[in-house]
């Protein structure tokens, strides 16, 4: 058949008008991985790159600096070590929570999630306290590049923790009021992945910023 340039098929209401009451066909084509999980890992990849920007800056500036104060001279390593411990605990409780959600144990989920939220808030609280003390002593980000990088890195990590706490809190509320059924456990798992990621970043940050 030869189609001349003018042959644009005309509008035919019989064929072309949308038919009402159509089912929406939503087919899952991809590799066997949950959509949400796929998306959250993509998101975590961007987060890795984000922290690369911040931590990478710290690393190259520090390596290029002639001297660098011992972090222990300036920072409260002991309290923060405790804080690190808290964050790891909260990661473990989160795993427990996800595990409970997987088997559809809503009560267990609420218990462990509440614990996670609590410990997460403690972390944020301690960090806020640490900031307050530092700022009271005049250690503002503008004092020198040590403080600049310190606040940028830990600050953005802190914001991430806060977001994680809020996220977990939302799920906790949903679990309390609406109950999260077994087949929806993925909701919890996604929040968990984010939470562990925040923990993972902290593990690296703590070592690099506070101990090295």
């Amino acid at each position: 058949m030869n189609i001349s340039p003018a042959a644009i098929p005309a509008y035919d209401p019989k064929v072309d008008a949308p038919k009402p009451h159509h089912p929406i066909y939503d087919y899952d084509s991809g590799p066997p991985v949950n959509r949400g999980k796929f998306a959250i890992w993509l998101f975590l990849a961007t987060e890795i790159m984000f922290f690369t920007g911040l931590i990478g800056t710290y690393i190259v500036l520090r390596m290029g600096a002639a001297t660098w104060p011992d972090p222990a001279d300036r920072l409260a390593v002991d309290i923060t070590a405790l804080n690190t411990f808290f964050l790891i605990v909260s990661s473990a409780t989160m795993v427990k929570g996800v595990e409970r959600a997987m088997v559809g144990d809503n009560g267990g989920l609420i218990k462990w999630l509440a614990l996670t939220v609590l410990i997460g808030s403690i972390f944020v609280g301690i960090q806020a306290y640490e900031y307050a003390v530092l700022i009271k002593d005049g250690n503002l980000p503008n004092v020198d590049i040590f403080w600049s990088t310190f606040y940028a890195m830990t600050g953005f990590h802190g914001i991430h923790v806060a977001v994680g706490v809020i996220w977990n809190l939302c799920i906790l509320i949903a679990a309390i009021f609406r109950k999260i059924p077994q087949e929806k456990y993925m909701k919890v798992e996604l929040a968990g992945l984010y939470w562990h990621f925040v923990d993972l970043v902290w593990v690296l940050l703590f070592t690099i910023v506070y101990l090295m």
Partner: protein
């Protein structure tokens, strides 16, 4: 993970390892700061180890398919690219005629710097080593 409960590992064990590693790190970082190369490489090993444990077990990466891995596998490469491409210009830059982290006034005096020998003037008590400051200990 369709099969729910049984992941084949004990959260408690992982947690204990993480705890021990953290304790080792903190002790090392607080009391054994010399020699530096040993401290840094040791801490790095511990941190990466901890990170991997979290990634592998808490985040279930050990049990994930290649497709999930492929989403984050490019990142280490890119991280390395960013870091290494920046080093010649920051770390090994001989053209730079100031010290990173120092502010020098016009008389050539350090007014603001990382070096404890040159405490900043007139701006709070920024340095932990100063007796009144004790910022480190809160």
């Amino acid at each position: 993970m369709a099969h729910g409960k049984d992941l084949g590992y004990s959260i408690f064990r992982i947690f204990v390892i993480l705890f021990i590693l953290t304790a080792v790190e903190v002790a090392w970082g607080m009391f054994l700061r010399e020699p530096r190369w040993l401290l840094w490489s040791g801490l790095l090993v511990c941190a990466v180890w901890k990170g991997l444990l979290i990634l592998m077990y808490f985040m279930h990466m050990r049990f994930e398919k290649m497709i999930v891995w492929s989403l984050i596998l490019p990142t280490p490469l890119l991280v390395a690219v960013v870091l290494f491409a920046n080093m010649p210009d920051t770390v090994f830059n001989e053209k730079r005629d100031y010290k990173i982290g120092y502010l020098i006034d016009q008389t050539g005096e350090v007014v603001n710097g990382l070096d404890p020998e040159h405490p900043a003037k007139g701006r709070g008590k920024p340095h932990g080593h100063q007796p009144e400051g004790e910022a480190a200990g809160h």
